[in-house]
């Protein structure tokens, strides 16, 4: 069994934005159920001892927590490289200075579109885009490296060239162009978000050209949507193989979307250690390695390359988390993706909200 390399700490589900592709579960955790500062500090110390090298402080909006500075300091004290994954709308210079003093290493700032009106419609928050631009400036003035994270889909891909320009103009050294992945809220909004094949091909071409044009200046990471694929993505680098996530209420998850698999039970950090959850919990062992795989994954030459794809997507589309990911052309359910592409084309969103 490998030790995990990175921990995703979902500190809260609270967020001023309401993005219709939010990666949080449909059933959001309320503030009263969130882990305390002390509990998070314990999680970080245990994560470092287990072998984690980096922590992603995420949410919801992590800076919505009043103890974000103490939490960052605890992660830094544990020896973890600390990334803040933020929407930026709550970030001001005093908070940034406190975070730097606490040992923060890097900021990833989300942007919903390059066009302010589009960005504010998609994120469901007025005035958000200007605040993000200010946040980028604050991060750079504090001397921290900045990554811009652009989630792309049917309704903003036309602005991809401008998103790349935005990354350069805002001083990002790295840009993530991440096509929406379809679980939870995004699956609910799939008809409004799925790109066409032509949109995807153009985006891929633009990213490849920008990588060459801005070589040595801007690193571009590119996450493709698998609805147009013939082979599935190696989700999480394999279930329980290199990554773990802790939810706002303390559930220890093999991936941030794992709670979308109904019926699966997770260890909670309030009852157990991180190591025990990683090594011994039913949830982590269920799809670890290749032994669980059905045909056609079993014995496939790609079994240890793509790990059978994504368990959450298999569950969302087939009702069976142990099925081959339908993104694989060898899956008996592969036709579901083509059918979804035919149906796509609405523009209305169902915004993320507490139920």
């Amino acid at each position: 069994m490998n030790a995990p390399l990175a921990l995703l700490a979902e500190l809260t589900h609270r967020c001023p934005l309401r993005c219709p592709y939010c990666s949080n579960p449909m059933e959001l955790t309320r503030a009263s159920a969130e882990l305390t500062t002390t509990e998070w500090a314990r999680v970080f110390a245990e994560a470092a001892r287990l072998g984690c090298l980096q922590v992603h402080l995420s949410g919801g909006e992590p800076t919505a927590r009043r103890d974000i500075v103490e939490i960052t300091a605890a992660a830094h004290a544990a020896g973890l490289y600390t990334n803040l994954i933020t929407a930026g709308v709550l970030l001001d210079a005093p908070l940034m200075a406190s975070l730097v003093a606490a040992g923060l290493d890097h900021v990833q700032l989300s942007v919903q579109d390059a066009d302010p009106a589009g960005a504010e419609r998609i994120g469901g928050m007025k005035g958000a885009h200007a605040r993000k631009e200010a946040a980028a400036r604050i991060v750079r003035q504090a001397g921290l490296p900045l990554t811009l994270n652009a989630v792309v889909h049917r309704q903003n891909l036309q602005n991809l060239p401008l998103l790349i320009e935005t990354a350069l103009a805002w001083g990002a050294a790295r840009l993530e162009v991440a096509h929406v992945q379809y679980y939870g809220w995004a699956l609910e909004n799939r008809d409004a978000l799925l790109p066409t094949r032509a949109q995807l091909d153009e985006a891929t071409r633009l990213v490849e050209a920008a990588r060459i044009a801005h070589r040595g200046r801007l690193v571009i990471d590119y996450v493709v949507p698998d609805y147009h694929a013939t082979r599935p993505k190696p989700c999480m680098g394999g279930w329980g193989n290199r990554f773990l996530s802790v939810s706002p209420a303390g559930n220890v998850l093999p991936c941030h979307a794992a709670e979308s698999i109904t019926g699966m039970e997770f260890a909670n950090i309030r009852d157990t250690s991180l190591r025990d959850a990683w090594e011994n919990s039913e949830a982590f062992n269920r799809f670890r390695g290749t032994g669980w795989m059905p045909a056609p994954c079993q014995g496939c030459e790609n079994a240890e390359r793509d790990w059978g794809g994504c368990r959450c997507q298999a569950f969302a589309l087939t009702g069976d988390a142990g099925a081959t990911d339908p993104a694989c052309a060898l899956s008996p359910h592969h036709n579901l993706l083509a059918a979804a592409l035919v149906e796509a084309g609405t523009s209305e969103f169902r915004y993320r909200e507490f139920g």
Binding site: L53, Y81, N83, P145, T147, A173, I212, R215, G216, V219
Partner: protein, 97 residues
Amino acid sequence: MPAAARRLCAHSVTPRFAPGVRLHHDIARERWVVMAPERMFVPDETALEVLRLVDGARDMDAIIDLLAVKFAAPREVIATDVRAMLDELVVKGALRP
């Protein structure tokens, strides 16, 4: 020369780690890793030798001199390897020329 082959590091540059990038001793796995924003990679032995000499003060010529002595190798051979490696690390976003 195609853009992809453009040389990013000249002789006289003083390479330094990009903001947020550093060498980190991974105690659990007994190895050195390059830690970077939301990424990490394991340098091979040669890259590690070069990265250990990157301190923001030594220029490329100084780094080449030190490695040529250490490995008792012809300076031109070391220079070619070091330049290629530094370029690669700049493209990855790990170093700034």
